[in-house]
């Protein structure tokens, strides 16, 4: 691999080169100065690079070669469900009738798109055991906030002032952040010794000010909350609602449903469970499902069907929390998710979850002889290990992660959840083979051995990447956030 520094696109610029092709102007060549006041006209042209088409192709091809995706190799990033992103999804989303339609076209001219959205709303409602789904939120955190805004509207309409949202200490950071942006105060409760919600702590925390409990189930520890029905009862009896963070839904499809567990609101991360690509950080999609009493508060519009079988955008929702995003959600992602659902059907999706859970348990079992498993037993789609046993040799979880890079793996999620010291969260997903899992496990065992025998080998890693460990402290202290050098 070429480990030279890669030039910025701006650094390739040479005056006079172009990479674009535009038609000649076939209308009068009006000058901006004639129709726009001078004070509004740009004085200095934007200093964009001047390159030709081959420069652009080689530049982004080179950048892509300095990046690692699922198609490059195993990516057991816990809570992120890095499963294979099927290629057919990419093809269907690019069909002209999906990619090149305008959100304000007459509904009659986009009936195929509306049918897809309507069907997806229903399929996701069935999958999660909810009564209605909105496809509008753009990502998981956006779905959380949307759900909390509905919970807020629900309580307010009942004349109740409920200001607190309870989250366990193992929750995703987005949970408390979403609670704050929805105007709630967050109460964090400790997990019990087995990693579950501490029922006594929950009982002590709930009250007449409880708006909701936000829960990921299976939790970020990969554990199913065995007392979920009791948890739901405690929260509901206090007058609160239950919010399901669907980031970990890959464990439960067709096996159990949040709606049946007692949850009132659910979001799904289609870019996790439904295989839509993460795109290097997005776009995602975070649909939200609700039980019937919350349907009036769903963001508008949702897709409805007339008695004659035609579909329409339903804006007539006076109690809606309003709009949370422009238009109707990340439609292109929804097309991919729908395509994915149709490649499996309900029985196939159940098989997805069964295989994901078996893969995770197999890995946990084999690794348990070499790394500390703080919560043994059965896990669901992911599990958490602790690297604290290696601290005696001066090796930390970060070092293990960096060493994995030299073997061609994307490391697990590290230092999360926060309630496990030196944590590593491993999620294999169902699309990885036993051979891949075995090779990764063997590598992890080898790294543990290296940590004991040649710790400096591990702490100095990685060696084979285009850059080695980067100075993150200085990056934050003296931020260089753009190429203001000009050209």
């Amino acid at each position: 691999m070429n480990t030279e520094e890669k030039a910025l696109i701006f650094e390739l610029s040479k005056p006079g080169r172009i990479a674009y092709s535009l038609p000649a102007c076939d209308v009068p060549e009006l000058e901006a100065a004639v129709c726009i006041p001078a004070s509004m006209i740009r004085q200095v042209p934007a200093q964009l690079p001047e390159v030709y088409e081959v420069d652009v192709i080689r530049h982004y091809t080179a950048l892509s070669r300095r990046n690692f995706g699922i198609d490059n190799g195993f990516y057991p990033l816990g809570s992120c469900t890095m499963k294979y992103n099927p290629k057919i999804n990419e093809d269907t989303a690019r069909l002209s009738g999906f990619a090149h339609i305008h959100p304000y076209q007459p509904a009659g001219s986009i009936q195929g798109a509306l049918e897809l959205l309507y069907t997806l709303q229903n399929d996701l409602a069935v999958l999660t055991g909810m009564d209605q789904v909105s496809l509008q939120p753009a990502a998981g955190a956006h779905g959380e906030w949307t759900g909390l805004m509905m919970i807020r509207a629900y309580h307010e309409n009942r004349g109740e002032k409920r200001s607190k949202v309870i989250v366990p200490d193992s929750s995703h950071g987005t949970n408390p952040a979403s609670a704050t942006t929805a105007g709630f105060e967050t109460i964090t409760i400790q997990s019990d010794a087995s990693g579950m919600v501490d029922l006594d702590a929950l009982r002590a925390a709930v009250g007449s000010d409880t708006a909701a409990l936000m829960l990921t189930n299976p939790s970020t520890l990969g554990l199913f909350e065995e007392h979920i029905l009791e948890i739901a009862q405690i929260v509901h009896e206090a007058g609160g609602l239950l919010y399901y963070d669907g980031a970990n839904s890959n464990a439960i499809m067709g096996i159990t449903r949040p709606g049946d567990m007692g949850f009132d609101v659910v979001h799904l991360n289609l870019h996790k469970t439904m295989s839509t690509p993460h795109g290097g950080g997005g776009p995602g999609a975070g649909p939200v499902g609700v039980k019937s009493m919350l349907i009036p508060y769903l963001p508008k519009p949702i897709v409805g069907i007339h008695s004659d079988g035609t579909y329409y955008f339903d804006y007539d929702r006076p109690e809606s929390i309003g709009r949370v995003k422009a238009f109707y959600g990340n439609f292109g992602i929804l097309v991919r998710a729908y395509t994915y659902i149709r490649t499996y059907g309900p029985e196939g999706l159940r098989q997805v979850s069964e295989c994901a859970v078996l893969n995770a348990n197999y890995m946990m079992h084999r690794l348990s002889a070499h790394y500390e498993i703080p919560y043994p037993g059965v896990c669901k789609h992911e599990f958490v290990m602790s690297g604290r046993g290696l601290k005696a040799y001066g090796v930390r979880t970060l070092d293990v992660a960096k060493r994995l890079l030299d073997f061609g793996y994307h490391p697990p999620t590290i230092y999360f959840p926060l309630n496990v010291e030196e944590s590593m969260m491993i999620e294999p997903t169902e699309t990885e083979s036993k051979e891949t899992l075995d090779r990764f496990i063997d590598t992890m065992i080898q790294i543990a051995e290296e940590a004991r025998t040649t710790p400096e080998l591990v702490t100095g890693a990685p060696y084979g990447t285009v850059v080695r460990r980067l100075d993150e402290t200085n990056a934050a202290r003296k931020p260089i956030l753009n190429c203001s050098c000009g050209i």
Binding site: L22, I36, S64, F224, G281, G284, R342
Partner: protein, 454 residues
Amino acid sequence: MTRPHRYIPMTERDKSEMLAAIGAAQTDDLFRDIPDAIRYRGVLPMSPALDEISLLAHMKELAGRNTDTASCISFLGAGIYDHHIPVIINHMISRSEFYTAYTPYQPEISQGELQAIFEFQSYICELTGMAVANASMYDGVTALSEAGALAAGATKRRELVVSRTVHPEARETVRTMARGLGLDIVEVGYSASGVTDLAALRAAVTADTAAVLVQSPNFFGCLEDLTAIEPIIHGVKGLFIVSANPISLGLLEAPGKLGADIVVGDAQPLGIPQSLGGPTCGFFAVAEPLMRRMPGRIVGQTKDIDGKRGFVLTLQAREQHIRREKATSNICSNQALLALCASIYLSTMGKQGLIDVANLNLRKAHYANSQLAFHEGITLPFAAPFFNEFVIRLPEEGPSVSEINRQLLTYGILGGYDLGLAYPELEGHMLVAVTEKRKREEIDHLASRLGELI
């Protein structure tokens, strides 16, 4: 019995070996922690599975029931535009090293994405004239909402003044956000020329105003006089937030040069398909004093232990995974792949191309404007300067905008946005968008058909 599926490698033999290793008799034992009362035992009544041939046929059938803008002549804009997408963009964003990667948490194997984001930030700063930009937001309207939230936090004030010329869906989204944070929204109307009413704005802005939120070109396509608005809000030490169309910035002065504190917008015009309005990509740029209050991911340049240039996610102390309930925003996933689209677009257009494409938009829109106004009965209600979009008023006694659009579609024309939908007082008004893709004869075609229909 596990049925083979092309995405799942587990064979019956794998399964039995793995179960044996674990010491479980069957897969179901791994779900023993789920209470029986909530186990789903049937088959979920969802859409059934299809083989690849049938699925492709089904998806093509659904797509085929939509009239796409490749098969008609679009004059529809209002936030989503029919611009040319250079062919190389799709080839580059189809590199699966980009699109199948997660957020670049491991910088050593994510330098490609990190550098691409760093370049995106650089492009946005250059276009907007701002000091710092982030890695992207969900879309332009959520970016505007977050800008309002930032302003409230930075000024410790609870009121946002929003012009009614801001996109109606943006204003709705800002209102939803404001309800969450307990902020007040004051809307200011527009003048006879189609831009923010400055007298009303002056009256609305007080010492409690956290920010003024405007859009330019505004929803009517008119250019706001940012130079006149700036002193009104800075006079009370509030923040000036501008939502801008990135292609227009090829010709129009960068809002940062006109005193904006936060500049946001939607990068859809920069090579992103319309896709029923999403996914697009919001951009978000601020003046330096606001840097540590920005929402979202930010990439910074640094060095590795050998002194080599590299890039990392930085200033993470603002973010939800560190700050939890004290974070500046809850955003996590953003729209990275679309930010890449926008970057490749700007790399392709370059310095001259952006000016040229902006000029084509300006000229074709002005040509269309004059051709449409030529018809007796069609009037131009707003006199303010415009870029690539403008408002026409149809005769009161004639058919409605939606009826005209229905008729236009039979001629293969996607007509403009019906402004009466969002502005009751503008019933009978149509917002017409004209991009570089529209040929003179297509514009003439619209003018002729419209002349017949009114």
